[in-house]
């Protein structure tokens, strides 16, 4: 059993490396082509989106991207699943495109709700999980928030509600990269440590390295195996993960990527792949 588990993890690790490499390249290219920023927050959660959609989510599961500014990471994840055509990615941010800077609903089955203004996705995900509970339907609702987003009161309202109604169908993911729009979360409005603050409302909070696919897989499968009300996974991540000149830099929240930056990033990625 242990051996087969070990083999499974190795397989995930190996396949994830190539999956991630292709996804990061396409993400960088897309942002460069469209002259759009928000790359740092995309790179901090991309690993989770890929792992979740490729290895965890089942047919009846739903995903809500509450940190809507990571729309690029979601589009790239859907592209990696073969559920979004490459030609659509070239329309990112273009006139008449469905691929806006924040996700729009009502056109793709994997994007159930529109988000963008922070503090909305989680309460909507709570409503969707409540619907599953009331109807006795299978499946979970996964909702990815940012960490700065927990400065929004509506998130805490949603957490109180979700815990009170013991919504076992809900998994809350927090991209804990430590940065927000105009400073670090510690500088702006520190909620350190976030985990015990969330845990104080009732849910079991688990922390995991958000860039380790095996650790992510293990954490998510373990949480799903023992339904608790609701589950919260704090993803320890790095803003701009994997690109040295973006990592942990405030600029990577907003600034777009020019061609020189893209080439540098691609060279870094190639070097890493070759090493």
């Amino acid at each position: 059993m242990e051996r087969s588990e070990g083999e499974k993890y190795l397989k995930i690790k190996e396949s994830f490396a190539s999956l991630r490499s292709a996804a990061v390249r396409r993400l960088m290219q897309m942002h460069c082509d469209s002259h759009i920023g928000h790359i740092g927050g995309n790179l901090s959660c991309l690993d989770t989106l890929l792992l979740l959609h490729h290895h965890i989510m089942q047919h009846d599961d739903l995903f809500v991207l509450s940190k809507g500014h990571a729309a690029g990471a979601l589009y790239i994840t859907l592209w990696s699943l073969g559920e979004l055509d490459d030609s659509l990615l070239t329309t990112f941010h273009a006139d008449g495109s469905r691929l806006g800077g924040h996700p729009l609903s009502n056109w793709h089955p994997r994007i159930p709700v529109s988000t963008g203004s922070l503090g909305h996705g989680l309460p909507m995900a709570v409503g969707m999980a409540l619907a599953k509970k009331l109807r006795g339907e299978p499946g979970r609702v996964y909702c990815l928030t940012s960490d700065g987003e927990w400065q929004e009161g509506s998130n805490w309202e949603a957490l109180i509600f979700a815990c009170h109604h013991r919504l076992q169908q809900l998994t809350i993911l927090v991209d804990h990269n430590g940065w927000q729009g105009f400073g670090s979360t510690t500088e702006v409005a520190s909620m350190a440590d976030l985990a015990p603050r969330i845990a104080a409302f009732g849910p079991v909070v688990t922390s995991v390295n958000g860039h380790d696919p095996v650790a992510l897989y293990q954490a998510l499968t373990q949480m799903n195996a023992v339904p608790v009300q609701p589950a919260v996974l704090l993803l320890e991540t790095i803003k701009g993960h994997g690109i040295s000149f973006m990592e942990n830099r405030l600029e990577s929240h907003y600034l777009p990527l020019d061609k020189a930056g893209l080439e540098l990033a691609l060279r870094e990625l190639a070097g890493r792949a070759g090493s």
Partner: protein, 303 residues
């Protein structure tokens, strides 16, 4: 009208199950609904933002969702949730706001809803329902339930005068025939005006109409109403709502767009708090010249 909405929803639940979310309001009114609905009756607590977004999430999953609060609490605090999560995503969430206008009286401005429908009607797809009489509520709830758009039901206190026969529900209705200035009324404030006009001579009293569903272009203006407005070249609009974004502005826009010749638009509307003091609904109406004697003076019928 709280009892009326409770009865209407009870009737609806048996045929079209839904989820009802209240923002910790409904004491001595919604208990029968809670008793019947079981786990589908949810006290969402004092968290209106979450309540609206949860309702949106339920609607996204195909469940009909109604929310309930005091009018001002239910639309002002969670306006962004109504805008982003409900209206911009075309989700048919039904919002019920109790205490339209000055209905909460001396509870103060925080509890008054004077600009609710003007603001909500700026949102895509939103439909507003303002019952005039308690009897209207059943029909309105049925119409909202089958509507595919977001809706806002603005409840007040039924002020139907004794002996008055309420005409069958319609979005536009003649409430009282008269040969005086045509007057269009929104909501329960019609009751006090009807009470003051019932005993007046037909030749003198205003021709009173009521409009219940907004925006006014949502349902066609009756030809009979238009003919009377054309004949008088004048219309008086009465509403317990501020002028900006109100039915007065809506109707004026519609009539001008339709090319209906008008010499005057008289508008009785909420003026807020001129004396910066609190009082009953009647007190605030008097301050805004929304009481029957003031309206009659506006129509040239009082001293």
């Amino acid at each position: 009208m709280r009892d009326a909405v409770c009865s209407a929803l009870l009737s609806l639940f048996g045929r079209h199950p839904f989820v009802f979310l209240t923002g910790d309001l409904g004491f001595q009114a919604l208990e029968p609904l809670r008793a019947v609905m079981g786990e589908k009756f949810i006290n969402a607590g004092i968290s209106e933002q979450n309540m609206i977004s949860v309702a949106a999430g339920l609607a996204q999953q195909g469940m009909m969702a109604w929310t309930y609060s005091i009018g001002s609490f239910g639309y002002a605090r969670p306006f962004e949730q109504i805008r982003n999560d409900v209206c911009l995503q075309s989700l048919p969430v039904k919002l019920v706001g109790n205490g339209g206008g000055y209905a909460y009286g001396a509870m103060g401005p925080s509890h008054h809803a004077l600009e609710d429908y003007g603001i909500l009607l700026t949102l895509p797809g939103m439909r507003v329902y303002v019952p005039i009489f308690g009897k209207d509520v059943q029909s309105i709830v049925e119409r909202m339930a089958v509507s595919t758009t977001p809706g806002y039901l603005r409840l007040g206190r039924c002020e139907c005068p004794p002996g008055y026969t309420v005409p069958p529900y319609a979005p536009w209705r003649r409430l009282l025939a008269g040969r005086g200035t045509p007057t269009l009324v929104v909501g329960p404030v019609a009751g006090s005006l009807l009470a003051a006009c019932l005993a007046m001579e037909l030749d003198v009293r205003p021709e009173i109409w009521g409009v219940t569903e907004l925006p006014v272009r949502n349902s066609e203006m009756p030809a009979e109403f238009l003919a009377i407005v054309r004949q008088h070249r004048c219309l008086c609009v009465v509403e317990e709502h501020v002028a900006h974004g109100g039915v007065g502005q809506m109707v004026a826009h519609e009539l001008l767009t339709m090319g209906v010749p008008m010499d005057a638009l008289l508008h009785a509307h909420a003026h807020g708090y001129p004396s910066a003091t609190c009082g009953s609904q009647s007190f605030h109406r008097r301050e805004s010249a929304l009481d029957a004697p003031s309206i009659l003076r506006l129509l040239g019928l009082g001293s």
